[in-house]
Amino acid sequence: MDYYKRKLIVEGIAFWTFRSLSFIVIGILFSILGFIIYKGSSVISWEFITEMPKDGMTKGGIYPAIIGTLCLIGGSIIFAFPIGVMSAIYSNEYTKHGYFRSFIQLMTSNLAGIPSIVFGLFGMALFVNQLGFGDSILAGSLTLGLLVLPIVIRTTEEALKAVDDNFRQASFALGATKLQTIHRVTLPIALPNILTGLILSIGRVSGETAPILFTVAAYFLPKLPTSIFDQVMALPYHLYVISTSGTNINDSRAMAYGTALVLILIVLILNLTASIVRRYLSKKNNIN
């Protein structure tokens, strides 16, 4: 076979391998979504998302679990976001290139690699027992916050790194201090990308079960929290409960799919909102 023909065939095989694999991935994603929507949509109703669970969680709604998950998302973001962004600013803008910076970044990566159940255990030991918060929104939010901290730090670092150094130099050359430069130039430019970290963390927080298992999640609690020291139900844990240890698993099966669908929708809506804000900010910066 001549050389050019062989080259063409190899190119073709490579192209179709890459293409079919990526299609398979998309296919898997859509079948999961489709399956959940197919199974769950019949359960979804106004009653389902606004009422308390009834009859051993085989009837009624999942309202407290939705509120619980939203509380945990909010609580962990309030905790993780400022701390994560500030420590990323420190490591990227203040430390010099070298061992110390590499050490900070290595530690961050290690933190990201710790299994979430370990975070749960740590959260229980520190927040629930040692600090005496008990099983509470506070303890759960702090534990989830620790879990997403590395994501926030890493994406913020990447966002800051992507800011053209020319902007910083221009600012310094006009007599601005480091803090003024960060506040007025670097952060606004990096903000759209930092929001990516926020989006990722929301997805992570809303889906995690292990960290909330020992720190906040209630098996069955048909009322809304009144303070940050209350326990709450949460969607992923509720899903686990009604699929494995409910009073009547067969009857609550449909409820489980409905819960899964709501969980996916919450993440989807929050992601969408964050994307819109992100796009708006990018447009305002108008860098490209």
């Binding site: 290139h97 007599g175 305002k284």
Partner: protein, 255 residues
């Protein structure tokens, strides 16, 4: 202070090292008030590094060591009493690549004022207008001050950067190849501007373009391999250089 110093800007036996690399070797030269000094030489000769001594931008780079004295109005800007942000207020800089902030045209020019604690609204408006006029940009942008600076053309962006530098009323303006990223028409506008600004500012300009150095400057310094080979009046240096390396460079034999 009524004392009159002989030179506006002066460097005395300045050595600069990047880690182990000796980038500037014993540079001594001076620039007079209200003149334009051009720094020429092949890439990597140290001319930009030398320029950045005077607003201490080299301090931002890790591993830089500087020896010797840099004086502005007779005062050593590397002495401990000098505050860097105060210094940079007196010494403006225009960069090679136009780098307006992703903010409005108005906010770009106002930036230096705001970070230096000026918040009086009418004062800022006056200064912005005056600086844009000085930079010969006012007529083109006066109706769209609230628009993003990123929408301007490259040449306009560079004049905006000049206006931004002028707004904080420096007495020295450093320009690092300010026209190298621009088309010929924008370049000639910048050159005219430099010529006009000379009456109020002392300007040092790094350029790769020998004609440009000849057109805009009063004195020219030729750098080669971290050394100052020759420094003279521009007319003299371009017509009758005393060093053969200068001769070779300006006639295009290397670099």
């Amino acid at each position: 202070m009524t004392e009159i110093y002989p030179h506006k800007i002066e460097s005395k036996d300045v050595n600069l090292y990047y880690e182990n690399f000796h980038a500037l070797k014993g540079i001594s030269m001076s620039v007079e008030k209200n003149t334009v000094c051009a720094l020429i030489g092949p890439s990597g000769c140290g001319k930009s590094t030398f320029l950045r001594l005077f607003n201490r931008m080299n301090d931002l780079i890790d591993g830089v060591k500087i020896e010797g004295k840099c004086l502005i109005d007779g005062k050593n800007i590397y002495s401990k009493e000098v505050k860097i942000d105060e210094l940079r207020k007196r010494v403006g800089m225009v960069f090679q690549k136009p780098n307006p902030f992703p903010k409005s045209i108005f906010e770009n020019v106002a930036y230096g004022l705001r970070v230096n604690g000026i918040s009086h609204k009418t004062l800022i408006e006056e200064r912005v207008e005056r600086s844009l006029k000085q930079a010969a940009l006012w007529e083109e942008v006066k109706d769209k001050l609230k628009k993003s600076a990123m929408q301007l053309s490259g040449g306009q962006q560079q004049r905006l950067c000049i206006a931004r530098a002028l707004a904080i009323e420096p007495s020295v303006v450093l320009m690092d190849e300010p026209a190298s990223a621009l088309d010929p028409i924008s370049t000639s506008k910048i050159e005219e501007l430099i010529y006009e600004l000379k009456s109020q500012y002392t300007i040092i300009i790094v350029t790769h373009n020998m004609q440009q150095a000849g057109r805009v400057s009063d004195s020219t310094a030729f750098f080669y391999m971290g050394e100052l080979i020759e420094y003279d009046l521009t007319k003299k240096l371009f017509t009758n250089p005393s060093d053969t390396r200068t001769q070779d460079y300006i006639t295009g034999r290397f670099g």
